[in-house]
Symmetry: C4
Subunit: 232 residues, 4 copies
């Protein structure tokens, strides 16, 4: 994929965040990686969505050095880079402050898998990171945020649960592309909204049975997935 | 009704789901049946709403064999088929993951009939299915989902309560046509939303009096219904 | 005011209900009265908002006899007529199933006056009617609904609290015109929504101080009201 | 800045309130100050947003005397003036009845700083004023509302927390310009909405750690802030 195509895709993915109404103001950022060249394309910092164009996207290498672009990259860039380095299978990352996902992150609760809407996209509870210490914040807050996510996943396949809640902060999601990362951000917000509505009806609501969770997840993502159309 | 007309109606009903904002992404599907020929027209699996056209609708017989169409039918097709076989009076079926209805399904509570808004469309609480066993999920999950719905209704007229919550999953609704099924999906989501708001004000809220429930339901659906305009 | 002008105003007021997004489907109706002739113009029953035109409005006398129009008047017409007969100062009536107002009506709680947003439009709690008996429902449900509202107000000026919750059903609002009645329906829904959010934060929240309630209400509606522009 | 430019900016800022959907009807007002001339431009009282034009804005001096304009200024004008006199660093003030902020004001709770979304814009809890006495309401309610805000801030920098909840009433926000004041009104409503969702998940949710709050606030507003683009 050419870098120009990736700029287009990342710009479009950022705009999609706003069209889906899960960002307020400039509160979100999406990136994608060109694995061959080791370059990441990301939204510039603090630019409103109505002024975003592909040529404003910033290109950085995996150490964070700006390679192309006149604007500053998103302040969250180092978090994205840590994720790309630790999770070789992912191609795009999204960060938002979508309200219901943030509420679970602020309440510091993993989102239990209450039903099939959740199981269709996330193989178990939505994970939550451990809080950052004062020392971690002081040394390199953005990188440490990424490292806290990576520690939370350990050896787990990050595409089985392509989403995380950073404690006291908000969600990061990812996927094979920038567009996938944005879709997962949209799905996480909806999963979080419905989970909140569920515990409002019954605070003791229980997760869905494992055999249902497993069936729904495999139907969409397993080796013999039969949801959707064959694309090959 | 010609099959082409049915394709148009089913496509339109699926699009209406999105216009009413009760689906996110591709999370919903609507079908209709041609009772004379025993053919069901249904949305293809995993296709976005902005690309849906009548010619993409899939035609299957009551055993699920694709009769017309190049795309895979919705993964929930076998659930629809079970409903058509068991409920001869229905002409359309809709399935969504609309948030408030899903929340009651996940909390595994029937929605009490708290007032006239509910009574106007559903003759009593919105029913809830029993959970599926691991064996049922393993044998034929989609058909077993339909059978769980059918068991829940027993000998009841399915048009008196044209809606159900599948435990841990979400709502199915139906009606005399695809358009009616979608309207009932919209009404159920609104009924569920208002019921959640009601128990947030008073967790011990009581159902509306039977004589009011009965009056409102009969006013719209009884033998001498006088709501609306005479259409004959 | 000519009857044609009143038809236009009533049609427009009904459409405004939908533009303000406080009705779903056909769940609302607005009327206005020509006091000189004793004629009431009201929405036809069960007609969608996208097909409403002034010539479809139905004209009835104060006994409910259709004087002009080919369609059936709203099934709630007799409730409107009781209000016009009992409250000579009102010129328009609106009925909706707006979700938050319905939730309070279903929870059968008056909405306490928690703050100035409420006090600006309603001089004290939003009143709630007593439930209807089976005998009342059996004799003339729609008229009895109106009578329950009238009994709730007694000798009170109905324009000081131009809104009511019918227990287990939903809101009726009124005003000097159909447009005013609709505005009060919009305000009631917002007042109800914010009241629900208030008790979610503190279930023991207290009403605003009387001196603030009184000041805000008088600022907008008292004899020397100074809100807005002089219209004379 | 010419007065005409300020009229344009204030009109635009008022319209932005409605575009962001945080006002219902005419329930909001924004002003800005020309510090050199000591003149304040403010929305007229009770005029709908669809009829607002720059020439309808009212110009008053810091004592509240109308200097230009045929319409009455907002009834809340004296509150704005007290804020401009007490807080020399601010250039614009906004007042809304946005629902979630009003709910916290009605519940009379400061909004705890539960996470980074909040910390990015407000350096600690959103403050709440003390209630007004009957004597204060009787003497000069609007000015006393401003004075209650000023007392709540004491010697604190009003730009560190550019927002306040007036008990039993609703939010006032401010900033360097009318546009900034409106953005802060939008942010406060979102912060309030997410805080309500947070305590719905865990009523005992705790504020974010001080070191995270401090880092996020300084990243956007500290002397060496590095969020966004250099604008010099």
């Amino acid at each position: 994929m050419k870098l120009k195509t990736l700029r287009d895709a990342v710009c479009e993915a950022n705009l999609e965040l706003e069209r889906r109404r899960i960002v307020v103001h400039t509160w979100g950022n999406v990136s994608a990686i060109d694995r061959e060249r080791g370059l990441v394309v990301i939204k510039p910092s603090g630019v409103s969505y109505d002024r975003l164009t592909p040529d404003k996207m910033v290109v950085v290498d995996l150490e964070g050095t700006v390679v192309e672009g006149d604007l500053n990259p998103s302040t969250d860039t180092r978090t994205h880079l840590v994720l790309y380095r630790a999770f070789p299978a992912i191609g795009g990352v999204a960060h938002t402050h979508s309200g219901h996902a943030v509420a679970w992150a602020q309440a510091r609760r993993e989102i239990p898998c209450f039903g099939t809407t959740h199981a269709d996209y996330c193989h178990g509870p939505v994970p939550l990171t451990a809080p950052l210490s004062a020392a971690e914040v002081a040394s390199d807050y953005e990188a440490e945020t990424g490292l806290a996510i990576v520690r939370r996943f350990g050896n787990e396949d990050p595409l089985a649960r392509p989403m995380v809640l950073v404690a006291g902060h908000g969600p990061f999601t990812w996927g094979k592309s920038a567009a996938d990362a944005v879709l997962n951000a949209v799905f996480l917000e909806e999963i979080a909204r419905i989970a909140s509505a569920t515990i409002a009806i019954d605070p003791a609501a229980q997760p869905v049975e494992d055999h249902v969770l497993e069936y729904h997840y495999q139907r969409k993502h397993g080796p013999g997935a039969w949801y959707g159309q064959k694309t090959s």
